[in-house]
């Protein structure tokens, strides 16, 4: 008998890494780059990227759309899983296209774990170049 949690996790291959998937590159705090899937190193590391988020405006209570990229990845595709409090560099396509130029964001805000359902959600923040 198939375990439903295992089935849900394997579904992520389609829902997160299927046709909707976009390539993601991670740089860990110790400088190691992760560009390929740990499940299949011949394939790019891909996940679902939402570029805008609908939130409630704390001032007025109305809904507003914010440019705030959120990346959802399959945990088994990661060779190392970001932990809340770590600074990671995350490169995602500038526009929702597989071949678009990638732009880097800082993973600064706490990650949303989702360990029991097989995915991890990363909230990204913009970063400026420091003046040398």
């Amino acid at each position: 008998m198939t375990n439903l949690r295992e089935l849900a996790e394997s579904d992520l291959l389609d829902t997160l890494e299927g046709d909707w998937g976009l390539p993601v590159e991670l740089v860990s705090p110790d400088g190691v780059e992760y560009k390929t899937s740990a499940n299949d190193p011949t394939k790019d590391l891909v996940g679902q990227i939402l570029y805008d988020t609908i939130v409630q405006n704390p001032d007025t209570g109305s809904e507003m759309v914010l440019h705030k990229p959120v990346v959802t990845l399959r945990r088994t595709s990661l060779a190392r899983i970001p932990v809340s409090g770590e600074l990671w560099w995350v490169r995602i396509p500038l526009t929702p296209s597989y071949t678009a130029q990638k732009v880097g964001f800082l993973l600064e805000q706490a990650t949303e774990d989702g360990g029991s359902i097989g995915f991890i959600r990363l909230y990204l923040q913009a970063a400026e170049q420091s003046v040398p």
């Binding site: 705090p29 400088g31 780059e33 990671w88 170049q129």
Partner: protein, 207 residues
């Protein structure tokens, strides 16, 4: 005749504008929303608005002048992105050690916003409590000018940036006069509503 509290508010805005020196932007009213990018770095905003007025009976006489204890809120808003060596992180030729150093170099946006807010409090405090500005620039005597409270709110994650706001509470008192105003009529708009299917063109009848 304009009430004194309005003159004082206008003078306070002018005073803050005159002392901006590129360090912040002054807005003379309370805005509901400001985008994170709008207040980024030196686009920090200072908003002034009249929050509260007490008119104690004991300090006034029936026909005036009326003592007016005024409370202004000066809202400070700053926004920051993280700052670090992103060029190294985006350089395909960079080594693991260089990337590690680049990530470690990042100053987090929360810390930068906190520092920026404190600096803005410093600027505005120095302007408002400068002895030369005892009248808040109004040009007439203002009583009991005081900065009674400084408040810092929680971080707001507005999109990909961090926004931090807070407020300075400024109190003062003045005398208000009632001058016996003669009302000036506004524009009267004569609206005739014609209904297409009404042959008499009698307009709309309300029953």
């Amino acid at each position: 005749m304009t009430m004194n509290f309005r003159l004082i508010k206008s003078a306070l805005v002018d005073l803050l504008v005159a002392n901006e020196a590129g360090r912040y932007r002054t807005i003379g009213h309370q805005r509901q929303n400001a985008a994170g990018s709008e207040v980024l770095n030196n686009g920090r905003t200072v908003q002034v608005f009249y929050q509260n007025g007490d008119i104690p009976k004991s300090g006034s006489s029936t026909n005036g002048p009326f003592k007016h204890d005024i409370t202004f809120q000066v809202i400070l808003t700053v926004s920051k992105k993280s700052i670090g060596d992103r060029a190294t992180l985006d350089n395909p030729a960079s080594t693991e050690v260089q990337r590690q150093a680049a990530i470690a170099s990042f100053q987090e946006s929360e810390a930068l916003a906190d520092d920026s807010f404190d600096e803005l409090v410093d600027h505005v405090f120095q302007v408002i409590l400068d002895a030369r500005n005892r009248d808040l620039g109004a040009g007439f005597l203002i009583g009991s000018r005081w900065l009674s409270n400084i408040r810092k709110d929680d971080y707001l994650y507005r999109g990909e940036m961090v926004v931090l706001s807070g407020a300075l509470t400024i109190t003062c008192s003045t005398d208000e006069q009632v001058t016996g105003e003669t009302p000036t009529p506004g524009n009267i708009i004569d609206v005739a509503v014609e209904v297409d299917d009404d042959p008499a063109k009698a307009g709309v009848r309300l029953e």
